[in-house]
């Protein structure tokens, strides 16, 4: 039943999800649900994370020391775990972004002629 929708969705490569999380946390620390929402909203719902898969990724980043987790209070005074970018994570984000832009540029250059043929 959900096959149609799934086709339009882009499966996230693991590294990509990491990159998106780092990028999201650059603005301000956030809790898990907020991170998922931000990613969905900013990508016009094209990138739909199965929200659960966020957590292994968050834990992985904590383990690598790129982000840190601390307990905090959310909007309506509920306790929540907030994640924030560490300086190590900031460096990582810069490196990853550069890499990603290079890759995206290369793919775009390769794909351009094809789109020209398809849409005359």
């Amino acid at each position: 039943m959900s096959t149609r929708r799934e086709e339009n969705r882009i499966d996230l490569l693991q590294g990509t999800l990491d990159l998106l999380i780092l990028r999201t946390l650059l603005a301000r620390p956030a809790h898990g649900h907020a991170i998922a929402k931000t990613i969905e909203r900013n990508s016009d719902d094209v990138l739909q994370v199965e929200q659960g898969s966020l957590y292994p990724a968050l834990h992985r980043l904590v383990r690598r020391g790129w982000i840190a987790a601390e307990d905090g209070l959310s909007e309506n005074n509920r306790r929540a775990k907030y994640y924030r970018l560490t300086s190590k994570g900031r460096k990582q984000l810069r490196a990853e972004t550069t890499k990603w832009e290079k890759l995206a540029g290369a793919i775009a250059r390769i794909l351009r002629p094809v789109s020209g043929e398809v849409k005359p």
Partner: protein, 852 residues
């Protein structure tokens, strides 16, 4: 610590996440219930997220492993019958293999239990005529004095001895030793000392004899005893753990361990004396160099014109590693047995795989559910492998216990069938082997079912609801497995069948031979009163008279033999100087009748015959005179003798083809009359008559007891003890294989009938007769059997060739054996499918159809 902190909060974090999502959904206008469902859907499998997140913190795999192991155990516990069958099957397979391995390891691989075992060599002069390695004692002294290649050299030989003293007297198994025997054997005295090389009239006691005859009384050390009537000093006692392990050709006739060690006579004292020789090579000297040196010594002696101690005979000197000499004969046997063990294990694994496949059908739903709730595929496979592992560990432990018992039983059953057998046991190597075999087996029988389950189609498995279906693919796989199993069994059965036939051939005997009613025993006249020959002759005459007059005795006689080697002037020989070794027997008139020889030509010898009258056995007559009639012809051995009769060949040992050429002279011709073999053919029960005969003989002179009394049948059986050992083991393996095959065939057919109950019900509802249903099921069984048997026969044709050296008078692809084996297995398969077939015929169509 981060790990702890992160994971502790995980559940709350996930709950929090879902609550937020739910709240958002409600804000968007969903009903609360729907909002929560949508949130959950969006989140994905909570279990899997939890697991994957934990996995990030790595040791998770260990936790999972423990959990899986616990689950695996619980699973087995829940189904005890099934588990028991598998564990017993495995224990059988692993146990048999471990037992054989520990024997093969002890015999073939372990270093000998001596100082510097790798440098020990066996020196021999092979005599092709008697098929034995012998060295004349004088040659040994020559070698030891002059050869430079050896750090130490020792001679030893079997010697029956009479040990007597005030108040006791017994026949004991002794070993006469010379040279550096103690050094090479690594012996240290437990008490007293070990006699020096060259020292005479001394004796060293084995611990057992010291306890038995002297009650462990240390005062005997340094005292004196009579050995064969000569006074000898008890020099010392060997420790309890000393074991004599040099090659002992005599163990089959004299299986007790040596009880006394006595010095060999000095050089030139007994020129006819032969010995076995072992030596330690000097470091850096190879066997080739050592052999060349012996040849040089031999040539020098020949050039010097010294008379050879054993007469002129073909010289075939050999120097070979001692271990090789000890185990060379046992090697093919053990390799065949190892292979047979491997086959049994394979069959066991196939059987277990088949059982697990059957169960995997039943578990399909359980697995499907696990995968549906997010258990990863790899995880499911791991869980299944765990279950196999749990089974393997249980089977391995039970198998080791089984092997320990089996090895002990083997050693008890025939301790001398294989040299060094007594060293076998459950040591570290055997345990490691068992563990490796168990793990390998787990992989073997666990992998197939696990992979097949992994492919489980989620939706179809769940949809099919309660009725778990095996699917045709799985039953096809099981049929294939059973066919493989049958093929493996055929190979084992064929091997065992060939052994049985060999054994039967060995036991074949001419009519009237009846070895069970012949008692054989030995006498040795020891002590000063028999120093002169007249006394010996008087004793022997009295003995024969008394035996002949004993009620129940049909004929009795005595005999002794010695080897004659030289040129006995065979008229049939192309070159008259040719050297021959013949067995020169001296026998009293009734001895040959007593042991069951038949007169072929001429007449028996009597006491009235002159000294030069002889009998020949058939082999001798054929070799000496060809087809010509030997009666009345003469021969030189080396005195001229005249043939008066020909008797049938006697087999002294059941083994190995040709009986030796033999000449029988009158017993009065014996150069020494102090020892003889006595044979008594009796009517009636040997166990009743044996004590009577023993008594009558000891009445002549109580200080000269008879020894080694047994029926001829027993003596012959002892001579083939190694083959009995092989037959017993191979037979056990084949029976185990057959049993497993029956279980396998029965299992798969019964299972397929259960699967088809509904189909059978429909058929019967539509009018199929019960006979047809039975036929249908049987046909399935027979098709599997036919395929397995055909493949097995083909494999057996190739593989049995490897065991040719273990067979006697049977060709490795004996058609009769193969036919019998095929029929036995076909009949077994038929019987195994009979039960399920009858059950199928009893299916009640109404019940079967309602079943759904």
């Amino acid at each position: 610590m981060t790990r702890r902190r992160m994971l502790d909060g995980l559940d709350a974090e996930i709950r929090d996440h879902i609550r937020r999502e739910t709240e958002e959904n409600i804000e968007r206008g969903m009903a609360p219930e729907e909002a929560r469902r949508a949130a959950l859907r969006k989140f994905g499998s909570v279990t899997r997220v939890n697991e994957e997140t934990r996995e990030v913190w790595s040791w998770v795999w260990l936790e999972q492993l423990l959990r899986d192991a616990r689950d695996a155990l619980r699973m087995q516990w829940r189904n005890p019958g099934f588990t028991l069958v598998i564990v017993v099957t495995l224990a059988l397979g692993i146990g048999m293999n471990t037992a054989i391995f520990s024997v093969a390891h002890a015999v073939l691989l372990k270093p000998l239990d001596y100082p510097n075992p790798d440098r020990l060599v066996w020196l021999a002069d092979y005599d092709p005529n008697i098929k034995r390695d012998i060295v004349s004692l004088n040659d040994f002294y020559e070698w030891r004095d002059h050869a430079q290649s050896y750090a130490a050299m020792a001679a030893y030989g079997y010697q029956q001895a009479t040990l007597s003293g005030p108040g006791y007297g017994s026949q004991v198994t002794g070993v006469a030793v010379a040279g550096d025997f103690w050094t090479l054997a690594g012996a240290q005295p437990a008490m007293g000392r070990l006699f020096a090389p060259g020292e005479q009239d001394a004796v060293v006691l084995a611990w057992d004899l010291f306890q038995r005859e002297f009650s462990g009384d240390a005062r005997i050390v340094g005292g004196s005893v009579f050995l064969d009537g000569r006074q000898a000093t008890v020099a010392g006692v060997l420790p309890k753990n000393f074991r004599f392990q040099f090659p002992m050709w005599w163990v089959t006739i004299q299986p007790q361990p040596p009880a006394v060690y006595i010095p060999m006579p000095p050089r030139d004292a007994e020129r006819w004396r032969i010995a076995n020789v072992v030596a330690a090579l000097r470091p850096g000297i190879g066997p080739g160099h050592a052999l060349a040196e012996l040849h040089a010594l031999e040539e020098r002696a020949l050039r010097a014109g010294e008379p050879r101690p054993l007469g002129a005979r073909p010289v075939k000197l050999r120097v070979e590693p001692l271990r090789e000499k000890l185990v060379a004969e046992a090697r093919p046997t053990l390799l065949v047995l190892l292979a047979a063990g491997g086959f049994v294990l394979l069959i066991a694994c196939v059987n277990i795989a088949s059982l697990l496949l059957a169960r995997s059908a039943a578990r399909q739903r359980e697995i499907a559910i696990r995968m549906a709730v997010g258990g990863g595929g790899a995880r499911v496979v791991r869980q299944l492998l765990f279950e196999s592992l749990a089974l393997a560990v249980a089977g391995g432990v039970a198998g080791v216990a089984f092997a320990a018992g089996a090895v002990r039983a083997l050693i008890g059953l025939s301790p001398h069938a294989v040299p060094r057998l007594a060293e076998a046991g459950m040591d570290g190597d055997a345990l490691a082997f068992a563990a490796a075999v168990a793990m390998g087996a787990a992989m073997l029988f666990g992998a197939g079912p696990a992979l097949s389950l992994r492919r489980t189609h989620l939706q179809s498995a769940l949809k099919e609801g309660a009725r778990a279906s095996a699917g045709s693919q799985r039953i096809r796989m099981r049929r294939l497995l059973v066919a493989v199993e049958l093929a493996l069994s055929i190979v084992l059965l064929a091997a065992a069948g060939l052994m049985v036939k060999s054994f039967w051939r060995m036991n074949a005997r001419p009519p009237g031979f009846a070895p069970e009613s012949v008692l054989t025993m030995k006498i040795r006249l020891a002590g000063p009163q028999y120093a002169d020959r007249a006394a010996c002759e008087a004793y022997v005459r009295e003995l024969l008279l008394r035996l002949a007059s004993t009620p129940g005795v049909q004929s009795a006689g005595l005999s002794n033999w010695f080897l004659f080697s030289g040129a006995p002037a065979f008229p049939a020989d192309p070159s008259p100087d040719q050297t021959r070794v013949i067995r020169l027997n001296a026998a009293s008139p009734n001895y040959l009748q007593a042991v069951g020889a038949r007169l072929v030509k001429g007449r028996w010898l009597t006491d009235a015959d002159p000294a030069g009258a002889v009998l020949l056995n058939e082999s001798m007559a054929r070799q000496a005179f060809g087809d010509a009639d030997p009666i009345g012809r003469s021969l030189r051995v080396p005195q001229p003798v005249t043939v008066v009769g020909v008797v049938s060949d006697l087999k002294y040992a059941k083994l190995d083809a040709e009986p030796p050429p033999e000449v029988y002279v009158r017993y009065q011709q014996l150069p020494f009359l102090r020892g003889a073999d006595v044979a008594v053919r009796i009517a009636g029960d040997p166990s009743v008559l044996a004590p009577v005969i023993r008594k009558r003989i000891s009445d002549i002179d109580p200080s000269q007891p008879v020894y080694d009394m047994k029926t001829l049948e027993q003596a012959l059986a002892d001579s083939i003890a190694p083959r009995r050992f092989n037959l017993f083991l191979l037979g056990t393996f084949a029976s185990a294989a057959l049993l497993l095959a029956i279980v396998g065939v029965y299992g798969v057919i019964a299972y397929s009938v259960a699967e088809r109950t509904r189909e059978i019900g429909v058929r019967m509802a539509l009018g199929a007769r019960r006979g047809r249903v039975v036929g249908m099921v049987m046909r399935e069984g027979m098709l599997i059997a036919a395929a397995g048997i055909a493949a097995g026969l083909a494999a057996a044709l190739v593989l049995t060739r490897l065991m040719a050296s273990l067979l006697y008078d049977v060709r490795p692809h004996d058609p009769l054996t193969f036919a019998v084996v095929a029929i036995v297995l076909a009949a077994t398969a038929l019987a195994a499918s009979m039960g399920p077939a009858l059950k199928a015929a009893l299916v009640d169509p109404v019940v079967a159809l309602r079943h759904e």
